[in-house]
Symmetry: C2
Subunit: 422 residues, 2 copies
Amino acid sequence: MNAEEHDRRRFLKRGAALAGLAAGAIRYSSGQTRASEQGAAPASQGPSPGGAERILPYGARSRFEDSARLDAGGVFTPLQDLTGIITPAPLHFVVTHMAPTPDIDPRQHRLMIHGMVDRPLIFTLDELKRLPSVSRVHFLQCAGSSYLGLDQRKKAKTVQETHGKTSCSEWTGVLLSLLLKEAGLQKGGSWLLVEGGETKRHTISIPLAKAMDDALVAYGQNGEAVRPEQGYPLRLLAPGFEGVRNVKWLRRIKVVDRPYMSKWESTIYTNVRPDGKARWFQFELEPNSVITFPSGGQRLPGRGFYEVTGLAWSGGGAIRRVEVSTNGGRSWKEAQIQEPVYRMAHTRFRFSWNWNGEEAVLQSRCTDEWGAVQPTLGALEKLWGVNRDYWLSTTNRIQHFNGIQPWKVAGDGSVHNVIWES
Amino acid sequence: MNAEEHDRRRFLKRGAALAGLAAGAIRYSSGQTRASEQGAAPASQGPSPGGAERILPYGARSRFEDSARLDAGGVFTPLQDLTGIITPAPLHFVVTHMAPTPDIDPRQHRLMIHGMVDRPLIFTLDELKRLPSVSRVHFLQCAGSSYLGLDQRKKAKTVQETHGKTSCSEWTGVLLSLLLKEAGLQKGGSWLLVEGGETKRHTISIPLAKAMDDALVAYGQNGEAVRPEQGYPLRLLAPGFEGVRNVKWLRRIKVVDRPYMSKWESTIYTNVRPDGKARWFQFELEPNSVITFPSGGQRLPGRGFYEVTGLAWSGGGAIRRVEVSTNGGRSWKEAQIQEPVYRMAHTRFRFSWNWNGEEAVLQSRCTDEWGAVQPTLGALEKLWGVNRDYWLSTTNRIQHFNGIQPWKVAGDGSVHNVIWES
């Protein structure tokens, strides 16, 4: 019996052998109906005249589905609509500083590895695909994910706005360590300068140690080719590192002996504090989690049973524990974690909750394999010497925000981002 | 160090500490080039004028990608194009006996549970989504998957034609056992009669034991809503059971005391032997595997190193072992298995191979958690008392075919389905 089953059985016991669910432990929304004893099937379920007559070579979703990314200073994933841990490729978040998205012919694309190596090499995509490959489930998150300080997202209302710059995919490709060994690393090489194929050539530094550990040169995303917005035909995956270092449209890797202080690591992706000092070279994203249901902008149809669910992830490795509070953080209970848990990947958690119809504040906090615990917003404000008013008044951005996100369920069932109500 | 890493390291050793790769152990296709020492980036990689100016709310794949399903007596997944274990939803195989695909408004859809239960119930989709849920990675396969006897697929050439009626997704939904307990099972109930929402109401029997074990009522597929061709908004998942029992557009489940011998289990989905007898109620799909690269219709550009890769799966549980032969089955070597391995799910295997340029026959065979081993075609022919000529001459279909699939690599690098060459 795995943890998931264990938790489910606990639920069943709580639900008085499940018969209790119908009797009250679970209350359905107003539309609930008992079936007639005659066994008549419910009406209006048949195929409509609009039913597809033929099956497309590359299928489409239902015309009733309208889940969409939000384009507002970056393109945000609708986390509130996701199930499981895989983010559908069409809904993956996008942050591209140098639009437009390159339109690369994969037959023309090359990856060059040079610098402090014995054998500089250029690979075609076909050549890369002949090499030993791996598939790994990993999240990607923009370091700028936060409801604080990003211009358009000030006073963010929904989980898409607060946390929608994180997504998770099954990536397939070649370990970068294999390519670097193939090129032959020279003594003294300690960093990589990695370049993307946009017009303006996004360039950033990666420590060689990370490259030799678990970095991937990925050509596959969720079973098919990497999407154009994600770097088609080739991207770097530096698992757990801030999104900006996972270079898209990857074309060049130069082995060097120092970091190169590119624009994207020395100015924009730094944490500027109120005293003017900035924190540089913060690679790994901190343990983070958020409840996606119920979340801001949603409405519960009435009191009764709900499964609270959300996602947790950490740049430091695997999520070991997620706790949920339904009383604003006064007490916490263990949430159920969906197994298997991948390292540096979205981890789905679930928590059974009976809402009594009174105002409640829901929040989650996670702990990763290093024992690092997601902090409260108050703790972060203290750490950084700032408060919410500061972020509302400045154009500075905050990077690597991972504070606990509280959602208030009001008496009428509406759900709100409580941070901007206090 | 997991098995995947272990195997990779073995590869590196074989490759003479990788320096050997460039020198000869790996030979690249004719396009291989050494980078110049000047560090000049290769040309023609920049974004073309066709680069996307804006990012769609629901993204699209690259215009250079043309991987497509094949519509020929069912719609076949292009297994040769997949990476990892997830089948992209737009490329999931489809077998629909009663077209057209229903166009169901999820707000109008209901699931009724009745028959031998204490409390017949009707659920809306919103009600189901409030209940405790699980996500599980499972394959679905049509029992009629085979290169034998299906009319249009006789003498199938590609892996899409031979095995393309299997796909694998992350499914999210409610355990059917929870819904049945909620309804209150009455004594004597031992089977379910399950009905779909097509015009002609596909109906089939499921043993209650399976329903109480691991069957899912699924509304999520790879992070978003189940696709219309897969049963939107609701389908049954009976993990490891032949596809036809995984009822799509699920609308009704009746608890009964016997199987109902529906058309789909008493005629069409049975194995009719040459003596006229048929095998009924074969639920679980047998252990199966196939090499997807190199596979029929592909061409190797030249001798040298290749990563052979493919998929293995079993209705009986987890894949424990995959072996690959490169000499027509005379000897076998252990393939590397991608972890984690899910039960009743596609399992990716990889195998490092140096092709010496001579004719070679590649094939894979798998073993599942019960120790069941995938049989040769010869063993199956003996078991069934038939041969290939029989299948070519009859309109009978074969169900649950899981024979080992050999691919011949000819001296010119072209790859062929050797079964139809002997």
